[in-house]
């Protein structure tokens, strides 16, 4: 990506006049140790990248705002709905990475633009110390049962996880035009009325630490992590009707001036070898079957625990903001 005059000047001074190729700028919501690890691995594999990370919501808005002069070369780690919108805004260019071969259909973009490399279910997990499997909800639609009132937490609607399960619920009440039925909104009202609401991670953790909340609506890895932090035994429910899966995608920006570098990076990043290593390091399930095969058995086992709910994300993507608006302005 083009650097601006001042930073390049500083760079030139630092390098004592040696002109070097610019690093590839990668936007990703993955931060902290993940970003560090990815950057290290990429450097070791000979890719010169700089990861810019911020919250998923901010990154998404930022990408849209920078439309006239994109600062990123590659975007990865945003989930289905966000990638789908960015794609329809024409921010990406098509590129079919080498690893698209053998990738299950649901992770391949028919337009050949966004490819998914990693997936996670949004699960219902229960604290089995206080709630037996028999008492647990059997499906997402059971949560409005009075028995579960005050037993689960709904987080901020700006969280990817919350947005996904809300979409997963409303998608069940959606007709072929994407309109949610009145019954669906009635359900949503009760769903919110029965929930403990949390705007931030700390208050969510506290609800489980105090023993009020026993049912955790969380992404797969998060459910285990929370159980470990708070100190309870956790079990996942394989729900009737399935559970929504989210997948993270990768795409090359339309405006990149380092196309070749970007392509090599995308090929490397999604490759079964790197994804396998990623799965081993962070205990997460990759999308590519070959990468799953390279992942630790524990990850492979866990990947089979729950059934996926079929969701038409392209249809949902255009509607989710309106749904969340209704929830935020009327229901909550």
């Amino acid at each position: 990506m083009k650097k601006t005059v001042l930073t390049s000047l500083a760079g030139l001074l630092a390098l004592g006049g040696v002109v070097e190729a610019d690093p590839l700028v990668v936007y990703s919501p993955q931060g902290g140790e993940r970003a560090e690890w990815i950057a290290e691995q990429a450097a070791a594999a000979g890719h010169d990248i700089e990861i810019l990370n911020a919250g998923g919501g901010e990154l998404f808005d930022r990408l849209l705002a920078e439309k006239n002069n994109p600062q990123a070369d590659v975007v990865f780690g945003l989930v289905d709905m966000a990638m789908s919108t960015l794609k329809s805004e024409g921010l990406f260019q098509s590129y079919t990475p080498t690893w698209a071969d053998g990738l299950p259909d649901e992770y391949v973009d028919p337009d050949g633009i966004v490819h998914k490399f990693w997936q996670t279910p949004i699960v219902i997990a229960i604290n089995t110390d206080k709630l037996s499997a028999g008492e647990a909800p059997k499906s997402w639609l059971d949560l409005t049962d009075p028995a579960y009132k005050g037993k689960y937490v709904v987080g901020s609607t700006s969280w990817q996880t919350t947005r996904t399960f809300l979409a997963g619920i409303l998608a069940r009440f959606m007709d072929e035009n994407g309109k949610v039925s009145d019954e669906g909104w009635k359900f949503m009202e009760t769903f919110y009325a029965n929930a403990i609401l949390a705007n931030d991670g700390d208050s969510k953790t506290q609800a489980y630490a105090s023993g009020d909340a026993l049912i955790d609506l969380n992404w797969f890895g998060g459910a285990y992590r929370q159980a470990e932090n708070v100190g309870y035994t956790v079990e996942l429910i394989d729900t009737e009707g399935g559970t929504p899966f989210i997948a993270e995608g990768i795409a090359i920006m339309d405006g990149t001036d380092q196309l070749d570098q970007a392509k090599t990076f995308v090929d490397w990043f999604g490759s079964p070898e790197f994804m396998g290593a990623y799965a081993t390091r962070f205990n997460q399930a990759p999308a590519h079957p070959e990468a799953i095969a390279l992942a630790p058995t524990e990850v492979q086992e866990k990947a089979k625990l729950v059934t996926a709910q079929p969701v038409d994300w392209d249809l949902v993507a255009g509607r989710i903001d309106g749904w969340i608006q209704r929830i935020e302005l009327e229901i909550k």
């Binding site: 601006t4 001042l6 902290g32 140790e33 911020a54 808005d61 920078e66 002069n69 700390d202 208050s203």
Partner: protein, 569 residues
């Protein structure tokens, strides 16, 4: 016209051009760009429909009502607590005054998300006070500290900063000889307080109250974290609408807000002008602390003072304490069971962890410097030429308060994503400097507000005397005005530096790979998979608070023993 005068005029003109250029480039231009995003092809009919959509939304109506009630209640409780705290420091003789002084200064450095989190450490479900209370009253739910009363309580002890800053200064300037005169005429103590002291500090108290109203109305982090499910305020709604990509609705709400804020500012400026040449002794006799003779009242006063001290410092101490605790205990343990320097070591030894802190120090420092340079030049000029142009300039400094910060950031991106003639044809997007430029814009409103108050407070006779002795404007500024307002300048620098170190909404849009600010690291840490990151966050905020506290204590030292100043906010 002498050569020196001509030079002075040329300097003035050049400076003015600079200020106007800065405002046009980094405020007006991005603002228009931001608005054009919010209202693509808007007309007045469209606005009407949007306003209807807003007023039809139940939660928006609730937010408006909640904000109105909360603002009223907050103004009341903060005034009571703030005035009492000031009296405990500078009117009554209370033992342990230096301890109280630090304790009551806590709201100046302890704010927003950090403060709200601190309150939850103490009063939340796993908080120490909750543990004690639920042991005493088992029927009390562990989630008792939530909703309207929790927010009001936190506001009450987090928003006394203005009283601490300005009411104290005003009280110190009350001429003690008037109090003694009243006393020798046989006036009772409460009569002296109400009839002698109160009128002298009244203009300050009114101005502080108006500013407090702004602060209370704009409160975001406290209701977000302590409001619970049934209590939310306007700022939360604005940000929410913005994140739902309904910038149009967000802007309409923000503007409604802006109009109220602007009228409060204008009102406080009128109060300020009226009080301009009244009261205050030329050479005031410093106030003597009054010992309360009645032992019962004295006991009650001490009791309340220490209760307030505890209320102020308990949450902040808990935050500092947990910064020494292992990450796993945060939000789980009542008080940490083990303490170590582990978290601090990590911040100072891990370059990746330290870098954001350094970036933010650099960018916030620059912004504070530029902000002060611009406002220190503009404010006296605007006060001198009290015409429509000056007033327009004055009000345009406040424009950032009319738009949600996020939209200003988006406006900045749009204004500078292509070569822009205003900045010599450069593309600022992706440039290191765009962040400090945006920071400068967002800290200017408050700087103008406070500096104006400080400049108005300078006795005009000093300037006139110097002028009659032939001192040039620059000389007068340097040798007379600047020393008199220096405490305000240092304070402002400290407060705004503190704010910018944790500024998130604008930063998240404008930083690039070379200047990732601290706030991004903090937010990232808060949701990181690595629990250690949350401990690192507490270290960050502790460091920021300590740094700001040092600046504020320095300002306090500077303002001591400055007789001639009549700083009236």
């Amino acid at each position: 016209m002498s050569a020196a005068r001509r030079l002075e005029r040329a300097g003035l003109l050049l400076g003015l051009c600079g200020v106007v250029w800065f405002l046009l480039t980094f405020l007006i231009f991005p603002l228009i760009a931001g608005l054009s995003v919010a209202f693509p092809g808007a007309d007045s009919k469209g606005l009407f429909i949007l306003a209807e959509e807003l007023s039809a939304a139940r939660r928006v109506r609730e937010a408006v009502a909640n904000t109105a009630w909360m603002t009223l209640a907050t103004v009341f409780t903060v005034t009571v607590v703030g005035v009492l705290q000031v009296m405990f420091l500078d009117y009554f003789a209370i033992r342990g005054r230096s301890l109280l002084k630090i304790g009551f200064a806590v709201p100046l450095v302890f704010g927003s998300v950090v403060a709200a989190a601190g309150y939850r450490f103490v009063f939340g479900q796993t908080g120490s006070v909750t543990a004690v209370l639920t042991w005493l009253f088992p029927d009390l739910g562990s989630d008792w500290f939530e909703g309207f009363w929790a927010v009001l309580y936190a506001h009450t002890f987090l928003m006394t900063g203005l009283h601490y800053l300005f009411l104290r200064a005003a009280l110190r300037r009350v001429d003690y000889s008037t109090v003694e005169a009243a006393r020798s005429l046989g006036a009772k103590e409460h009569t002296i307080l109400l009839r002698v002291v109160l009128p002298a500090v009244m203009p300050t108290l009114i101005a502080v109250t108006l500013l407090l109203t702004d602060t209370a109305m704009a409160s975001f982090a406290v209701p977000e974290i302590l409001g619970g499910r049934d209590f939310h305020m306007l700022s939360q709604m604005i940000l929410k609408l913005n994140s739902l990509r309904r910038q149009d609705l967000a802007v309409i709400l923000a503007m409604m807000f802006g109009v109220i804020v602007m009228s409060l500012i204008i009102a406080s400026q009128i109060v300020e002008q009226r009080g301009r040449f009244t009261g205050g002794a030329k050479v005031p006799v410093p106030i003597q602390l009054k010992t309360i003779r009645n032992p019962v009242w004295n006991g009650i006063a001490h009791g309340i003072a220490y209760l307030f001290l505890a209320a102020n410092v308990l949450p902040v101490l808990t935050v500092v304490l947990f910064s020494f605790a292992p990450a796993a205990s945060i939000g789980v343990e009542i008080i940490p069971s083990s303490l170590s320097l582990q978290n601090y070591l990590k911040v100072f030894t891990d370059a990746d962890v330290l870098q954001p802190l350094l970036n933010s120090v650099q960018m916030s420092g620059l912004a504070v410097f530029f902000g002060l340079a611009i406002t220190l030049f503009s404010v006296p000029v605007m006060l001198k030429y009290d015409n429509w142009a000056a007033r327009t300039l004055d009000l345009s400094f406040f424009l950032p308060w009319f738009l949600p910060g996020v939209l200003l950031a988006v406006g900045m991106i749009l204004a500078f994503d292509t070569p822009n003639a205003l900045v010599g044809g450069a593309i600022l997007l992706g440039n290191w400097w765009i962040v400090p430029a945006a920071y400068t814009v967002i800290i200017m409103p408050l700087m103008v507000r406070f500096l104006r108050a400080a400049f108005v407070g300078i006795d005009p006779h000093y300037g006139e005397a110097a002028q009659s002795l032939g001192a040039s404007a620059l000389y007068r500024f340097r040798r007379i005005s600047l020393p008199l307002i220096l405490p305000t300048v240092v304070l402002l620098a400290g407060l705004k530096f503190n704010d910018l170190m944790t500024e998130y909404p604008v930063s998240a849009f404008l930083f690039n790979v070379n200047n990732r600010p601290l706030s991004l690291a903090i937010v990232d840490g808060a949701r990181s998979a690595d629990p250690e990151q949350r401990a690192v966050n507490l270290v960050y905020v502790t460091l920021i608070m300590v740094a700001s506290m040092v600046i504020i204590v320095l300002a306090e030292r500077l303002s001591m023993g400055r007789g001639p100043e009549r700083n009236r906010l």
